[in-house]
């Protein structure tokens, strides 16, 4: 008793509204991520939707089940049904959840493998990404296809050598260093992600990829964008005061534009 009816009804209503609103917002694509621009991104979205359905179902059943239980079994003077459990039921729901969860994990493993574990095509364009407080630098190897040696002692942004490229290494003479990332469409790209100071990150939501930039390591990341456009690159790893201002752009351009970009950059 003790005011059961009101509380029970309120809880039932509140949980139903919670479920209804949540379904409504997800169904209408409220602040959905913009569409992906890589085949891997499409797969990741597919996996996301699958997970949304599975967990969505669990969410609806659990919340409504809770609302129903408190409403239906509020104290109306009835005796409580004495039971200590039900082994069959318990084993059944353990198995069902295990199957659902591990099944999702198995499917997700495939999209993960596609984004991180596949071999890089030999013709991939390699670009080195160097992050520092609070900017990105992108280095293209230039016509010789080789990155020059880097020496931290030589790093000096004011004199125009933010990466510390060794002038005595011939491979480095033609290296191009720019502050935005330009890549041709439909061509495999491999980024080599590094950091000069603290841990940063490389995140483009349209690529459905993010990767930390860890000082002392060079982490590869590959993708093949299939849509032209300009996309934000943001840093998602707390890196200091300017963390929230640390961003750059990914320009996916046509082959012709890409060649033009290279020639212009080499000329400089």
């Amino acid at each position: 008793m003790r005011g059961s009816a009101a509380s029970a009804l309120l809880l039932f209503i509140a949980l139903t509204i919670l479920v209804g609103l949540t379904i409504f917002l997800f169904a209408t694509g409220f602040f959905a991520a913009p569409p992906p621009i890589t085949p891997v991104g499409v797969r990741i979205d597919h996996q996301y939707n699958l997970t949304l359905y599975a967990t969505g179902m669990a969410f609806v059943l659990a919340q409504l089940g809770l609302g129903w239980a408190v409403f239906r079994y509020r104290d109306r003077g009835q005796p409580a049904r004495f039971t200590r459990g039900n082994a069959v039921l318990e084993i059944a729901w353990t198995i069902v959840t295990a199957v659902v969860f591990l099944g999702l994990g198995g499917l997700a493993a495939r999209s993960w493998a596609q984004s991180r574990i596949t071999k890089v095509p030999t013709d991939a364009i390699r670009v080195e990404v160097t992050e520092q407080q609070f900017v990105y630098n992108f280095r293209y190897p230039g016509p010789d296809g080789k990155f020059g040696r880097i020496d931290p002692e030589l790093i000096s942004a004011p004199t125009g050598n933010p990466l510390g490229i060794d002038p005595n290494d011939p491979a480095g003479l033609d290296d191009i260093v720019v502050s935005t990332l330009t890549v041709p469409v439909n061509h495999p790209i491999e980024l080599l992600i590094r950091s000069q100071d603290v841990v940063h990150n490389f995140f483009v939501r349209e690529l459905r990829l993010q990767q930390d930039a860890v000082p002392g390591m060079t982490v590869p990341l590959q993708f093949t964008p299939d849509r032209l456009g300009r996309y934000y690159i943001v840093c998602t790893q707390l890196c200091g005061m300017g963390h929230n201002q640390m961003h750059s752009f990914l320009d996916v351009v046509s082959d012709a534009d890409y060649r033009e970009f290279l020639t212009r950059a080499e000329a400089r």
Binding site: L15, D75, V234
Partner: protein
């Protein structure tokens, strides 16, 4: 009614003197209350910090009184955020559920007069308090509080003030404080574990322990095994900062144009592994006691035995074990070997299974019950709801492919606030309303309690649900404001909504504080057993005497949740009633 046997001393003299009794007390109940008030002070500061953050996020250009320059600078925001996370995780959610309630009720629930090592218990509290003061002092040192988040990833946290204000003295204070906290937690967990093993009353075998005791026990084991690792990591971090070692600090770093010489090639991921080896168990340390309380309260107010008691105890243990094997899910995109991500993912998803079993069993306990909606029960129902909502977003994060999109966004912020910032806090609230009569001998006000519940329940959903959408859209966490990338500006209305909800929710906590304080003196006097409950704490006076049972220590005859037993004269059969008085036969063990 036999007279008490001779060899029992009916009452024990209280220690004399105010200081021995209330300050340097070794009584677990006093220590429990000390922890409780420490957590209350900490949560108040934590909430204020979160409100400052929220206001800044909604109105980044707002002019603040007392702030030089008028607007909040990014590093000030990051300092607020770091201290908010740290204070909430360590000084609220590790102290209140285990330190406060565990201390107060674990010995009573197993029929013991005190903890096994009362003086070590007192020491744990004083260390915790010292750690807390040290943490607060970080605000006052030159450069201010640290800005590296509660996770303190090096090299940001490992190089000193070159990496940012707050990374000098402030970060050092942070490390020292957490180091002291580690020692306090280790001492406390030794005490909890030993007490549970050695101090149980006659008849209190494992399958008769209340699920709260199970939860505290598993929690203590987890903190015993995890805080040592954090302490080791902190020592290495301090050495990197001050002695020039390179455990975590790589060679050739150029920070702010300055070459950091002398480092030979440390590995930042080593810190991440050590931190999360502690950090993941830590989040379960925060919530397991809440799960115990929820099981306990739901059974009590549904007037039904816990559905699947053995499964409930087993899943606590399963979560405790699995909790140590999946720290890598915080590092999917850290540059760790991508194959290990798959292993961590599978293990992370497996921990969803015992969690789901618990959820189903809570529903099973209510199903067919006779539910009474007193405030403790409302908060436990809220716990279940928030745990489901927050836990299910964990299923997204547990898949490395999806973590590609969701890592370090507000989706994660939504996830962990729902499970930790709300569900676990609801566990504390449930425990507070439930045990207040026992602790203070008076009832809390029901009407205010219900009002508090409803405002907090609705308010917390309003604060944290929108954050999922921010995250999916690409809203990055730990951003002082969203003026960087222009697409983030679209999310500003959601920020505004969350901020208003946070202000309302925080204001609603004033109702709680008022209710708490006024009930201390004006609450209706509580009987021994106001909730008609079965466990041992309800067999003694409210508040309990110094040795908990006035010399008349109980013997235990049955399981902890004997509600509505067919044939019993009343709908609850206390654990300590001898069979001839209980009207039902002894021992009925659990299914």
């Amino acid at each position: 009614m036999n007279p008490l046997p001779d060899h029992v001393h009916p009452a024990v003299a209280s220690p004399s003197g105010f200081f021995r009794r209330y300050v340097f007390s070794t009584d677990h109940k006093v220590i429990g209350l000390q922890y409780y008030f420490l957590a209350l002070a900490a949560v108040t500061i934590g909430i204020v910090l979160s409100l400052l953050m929220r206001v800044h996020l909604a109105w980044p250009q707002a002019h603040w009184p007392l702030v030089t320059g008028g607007t909040l600078r990014p590093e000030q925001y990051l300092a607020l955020m770091t201290m908010h996370g740290t204070i909430m995780v360590f000084f609220v959610l590790t102290t209140a559920p285990l330190g406060a309630f565990g201390n107060y009720f674990l010995p009573i629930q197993i029929g013991a007069p005190d903890m096994a090592f009362p003086r070590i218990n007192m020491l744990s509290f004083w260390f915790t308090l010292a750690a807390f003061l040290c943490m607060l002092a970080a605000f006052a040192v030159p450069g201010g509080a640290p800005i590296s988040g509660w996770t303190a990833y090096p090299p940001l946290s490992g190089l000193g003030s070159v990496t940012g204000p707050g990374e000098g003295m402030g970060q050092t204070m942070w490390i020292v404080s957490i180091g002291i906290f580690c020692i306090a937690s280790l001492l406390a967990s030794i005490n909890f574990i030993t007490t549970t093993i050695e101090m149980r009353a006659p008849g209190m075998n494992l399958t008769r322990m209340p699920l709260t005791v199970w939860a505290w026990f598993v929690t203590a084991v987890m903190s015993l095994l995890s805080f040592g690792a954090l302490l080791a990591a902190l020592i290495m971090l301090v050495l990197d900062r001050s002695a020039g070692t390179s455990f975590f600090t790589p060679a050739g770093l150029v920070v702010n144009g300055e070459l950091q010489s002398g480092y030979s090639g440390g590995w930042p991921l080593l810190w991440e592994h050590l931190f999360w080896f502690f950090g993941h168990p830590e989040v379960y340390i925060a919530i397991l006691p809440g799960m115990g309380v929820t099981s306990h309260v739901i059974s009590n107010f549904s007037r039904k035995p816990v559905f699947g008691y053995r499964a409930m105890a087993a899943t606590l243990c399963a979560i405790g074990i699995l909790g140590f094997l999946l720290w890598g899910h915080h590092m999917f995109v850290s540059g760790m070997n991508p194959y290990s991500s798959l292993a961590f993912s599978a293990l992370t998803l497996s921990i969803g299974v015992p969690s789901a079993v618990k959820t189903f069993n809570w529903l099973g306990t209510m199903w067919g019950g006779k539910i009474q909606f007193d405030t403790p029960m409302l908060f436990s129902i809220g716990f279940v709801s928030f745990f489901v909502t927050g836990g299910l977003s964990g299923i997204f994060l547990a898949q490395p492919a999806l973590d590609n999109l969701l890592h370090a966004t507000y989706y994660v912020v939504a996830h962990f606030h729902l499970v930790m910032g709300v569900a676990a806090i609801f566990g504390i609230f449930s425990a507070t309303y439930y045990w207040f009569p026992k602790m203070f001998g008076r009832m809390m006000d029901e009407t205010l309690g219900k009002l508090h519940f409803w405002l907090t329940f609705v308010g917390a959903y309003c604060i944290f649900m929108p954050m999922h959408f921010m995250g999916i859209y690409g809203g990055i966490r730990r951003y002082a404001d969203w003026t960087g990338a222009t697409y983030l500006a679209a999310l500003q209305p959601l920020h505004l909504f969350a901020t208003i909800a946070a202000l309302v929710t925080a204001a609603a906590q004033l109702i709680f504080f008022y209710n708490f304080v006024s009930s201390l003196t004006r609450g209706e006097k509580a009987a021994e057993n106001p909730w008609r409950a079965t466990t041992l704490e309800w067999s003694t006076a409210s508040p309990p005497p110094v040795d908990n049972f006035a010399g008349a220590f109980p013997t235990v005859y049955r399981g902890p949740y004997e509600y509505s037993v067919p044939g019993a004269p009343q709908d609850f059969t206390p654990q300590h009633l001898p069979p001839e008085l209980a009207g039902v036969s002894e021992g009925a063990t659990h299914a």
